[in-house]
Symmetry: C2
Subunit: 482 residues, 2 copies
């Protein structure tokens, strides 16, 4: 049995006068009297009031920011502002010291850039406590959502011998001696000698394996790490990130969009319901941050209002063709303010176009469907050629304000011949994909799925602006610290 | 809106006479009349009775094992044995064919070895439906357990620049051109040119990063993939497996053991409560499988009884020193039947010894504590040297019948000087671990944690005997298929 009570529980307690023990870390110590203690259970600290006249000087000196303390005392109503309860300390002891000359976190505002350098300590700040509590709530809500709907959670493989999906550059995984690898007679690396007897990579997506499972369980989802070895140093890209990928038999594109919209709303609502203090803190953080920006760059809605706005409105659903029409007629296109001017059907949409649609035109999340076949993946279901001769696929991307692509998905091509023809067109050898093709050979059915970039979801829900701040230890080009 | 109803819901329905639509895959088709259809939502099939005299011959011919069908009809009470309801079909159509000459799954018993070769199709069998439903239930229960206790789910990194933990051989991760890697002036591989600017590996454990988070949030857990590049081709090892690793500030060893025992019991109970049909199926599968074994090799308890036995009994908690005493006095040791005869304190326990303790001596899960310092990891808390001069650490391993080590954990060494001394002793350079050591420099507190091998948990709960059968696509030496 633990002898101490969590601060989260103390802050809710009504048992005034009760003797309790608190253990936690010192956030601040004021006037040799007021210790703000945090144990991580709540974003809020509890204040312990020390009777400094009857406390050993040696102990008082060691109550420094970052030190771990044990405080015994009585829970009392607080006279101070902003807190309901506090602890009248009768006994204070130091569990672990923190040398104030060396401890990098001081009771002042640190920049996010500085905190990224000390990612192993940044969890100890209010901002990162709030971010990772929200992240935790979102992750649990994902599992809860799918569990309530009887989806089966599948752990698709991380190490893969297949590199066919082509979703991005891959990391190689090997146990060969890189200094002196075994070579074939032709002088090439002999991957037969490698751990798996062939060349392997880190997965870019669990979708293809997910499809195999959906053809047996009906509805499945994955939630695991995925990887891109792309040299993009942006605020929205990571080399290692977590993705949620549901895959559903008998779902067509509309069902797919409904599920994706339901999922996003469900998990954001869950975060709002279960992390009100954390989101309030993050809302204020963002308001504070934006004070230094010119008026026209500030958010129109605060974080809480923005999240509620998403919950209360239907996502706009338009086809790529409609989007092109809107973009062509738009002011920034006509005035050539876009870096890539849209001059007709077929163009791949750039971030600037997506932002225009979402942030300026519709001012809410937008689901874009039926993209040109040529710019989308081989496994997407091909639409009949339309009256204008356009070849499209049943893709759907969900675009979010400030984030861009939150979800990418599609109905899948279930027709074996069409799939084979498309694979040949884009140069994917069928013989490497027999296992995938078997889903279309034996009891093929219409099916759909999508992928949610989990960190982008956390980014949106926390109002943070750099994806490195919403994953514990970000992996980016030239950075794999901790 | 879906036009069809899931079989899981139909099997529970009381709405006799109602017109419904079923979509799913044919498991069997008997007498040109009875289709057993499964859509993955339940381990049980629904039977559709076809009016074959009024059904097109071409359609009847295409109702083959593995084909996807759509059946419209009325829900009626079943006259057949073993089912409450069935569908009186008024309309049958084929969604996707399955050529019976080519479809590898036939309505007969296939060996687990054969099914492993076609892991992309094995989900379509009753056995693997049951296994992965139980796996799903266990995974959800893990999150539910920690969520109810306010633990924060942390995604610790998969790619790591640190190889200090030494829990096992690691896979290298690189984007270098292996055929012609950049080299330094001394002729060594120049990892500065690699994606992360240094050599990186796949993680063997999230523990060290978990400790960083526990020092801020109090209680955290990870649940993610971990890797071992070890050439062990056994029924209990995988190169890629999922691990659950909680880490708790202010927990001492007893608290750690209590939490681990609570967790294991909670998730097994959850599986029993939510997957009764699946576990009943797996129980019968195991009884069937064991029929071919000699009496003395069969399980004493059936699967359900075995799981209930674990729930109803306290795990035996003994020290390593006590275990050595039991083993030394044991018959197989005295008769030299052990391959490794125990001749005194200090020996590392082998699988045969663990099995003796768990399966013969105590006949229930055993928690072994306080192992010799020399055979355990550097980060474990050092006990005071005892009267016999034994140096031990506050480790705890939980051993399960038929499985061996299910959990490995310890209280952590929170004293900086002791930790540094131990690191020097085992040759871990402190300068590579500054971030880890900071937890002991700034507000160090007693803390503990453990790791649960998730596949071993699934193995135990499903009564399966080969770990390759409880993960969707196993990765083992020379095998990274699908």
């Amino acid at each position: 049995m633990m002898e101490h009570t969590r601060i989260k529980d103390l802050l809710k307690s009504e048992e005034f006068g009760k003797e309790i023990i608190v253990k936690g870390w010192v956030r601040t110590f004021r006037n040799n009297q007021f210790i703000a203690i945090n144990d991580g259970s709540s974003i809020n600290n509890i204040q312990a009031v020390v009777d400094f006249e009857n406390t050993n000087d040696e102990v008082l000196k060691r109550i420094t920011t970052g030190a771990a303390v044990r405080v015994k005392g009585n829970l009392v109503e607080s006279l101070g502002k902003g807190q309901r309860v506090e602890v009248k300390a009768t006994e204070v002891s130091i569990i672990g010291d923190s040398d104030p000359e060396k401890y990098p976190l001081q009771p002042k505002k640190h920049s996010l850039e500085f905190l990224r350098e000390i990612a192993h300590l940044r969890f100890r700040t209010g901002t990162f406590n709030a971010i990772f509590k929200v992240r935790n709530a979102l992750a649990f809500a994902v599992h809860k959502f799918f569990n309530e709907r009887d989806f089966v959670y599948m752990h698709t493989p991380i190490i893969t011998g297949s590199d066919a999906e082509g979703a991005g550059e891959m990391f190689q995984v090997t146990t060969l001696d890189l200094n002196n690898p075994p070579r074939t007679e032709e002088g090439k690396i002999d991957f037969k000698e490698d751990f798996f007897g062939k060349a392997t990579n880190l997965t870019v997506s669990g979708q293809l394996e997910g499809e195999l499972a959906a053809m047996a369980f009906g509805n499945i989802y994955t939630f695991g790490p995925t990887f891109r070895a792309e040299n993009s140093n942006t605020t929205r890209h990571l080399a290692e990130f977590w993705m949620i990928e549901p895959e559903m038999a008998f779902y067509e594109l509309d069902d797919n969009m409904d599920l994706a919209e339901d999922l996003l709303k469900y998990v954001i609502r869950y975060a709002l319901d279960t992390c009100p203090d954390e989101i309030e803190f993050l809302k204020n953080r963002l308001l504070e941050e934006e004070k230094s920006k010119p008026q026209n760059e500030r958010s129109e809605l605060n974080l809480v209002d923005k999240l509620n706005f998403v919950l209360e409105n239907n996502f706009e659903r338009i086809t790529y063709t409609e989007a092109i029409d809107i973009l062509q007629k738009s002011k920034p296109n006509q005035k050539k303010q876009f870096k890539y001017v849209i001059d007709g059907w077929g163009a791949d949409l750039q971030s600037e176009h997506e932002r225009y649609l979402v942030e300026k035109h519709f001012k809410k999340p937008v689901i874009l469907t039926d993209y040109p076949r040529a710019i989308k993946s081989f496994y997407m279901k091909q639409n009949p050629v339309d009256a204008q001769g356009h070849e499209t696929v049943r893709a759907m991307d969900i675009l979010f304000p400030g984030i861009g692509e939150m979800v990418g998905g599609s109905q899948r091509e279930e027709n074996l011949d069409k799939l084979l023809a498309r694979m040949e067109e884009v140069g994917i050898p069928a013989e490497e994909m027999e296992w995938f093709l078997d889903t279309r050979r034996f009891g093929s059915v219409p099916h759909s799925g999508f992928g949610v970039g989990f960190e982008r979801l956390v980014l949106f829900t926390t109002g943070m602006t750099n994806i490195r701040d919403v994953i514990p230890f970000p992996r980016t080009p030239n950075n794999a610290e901790f």
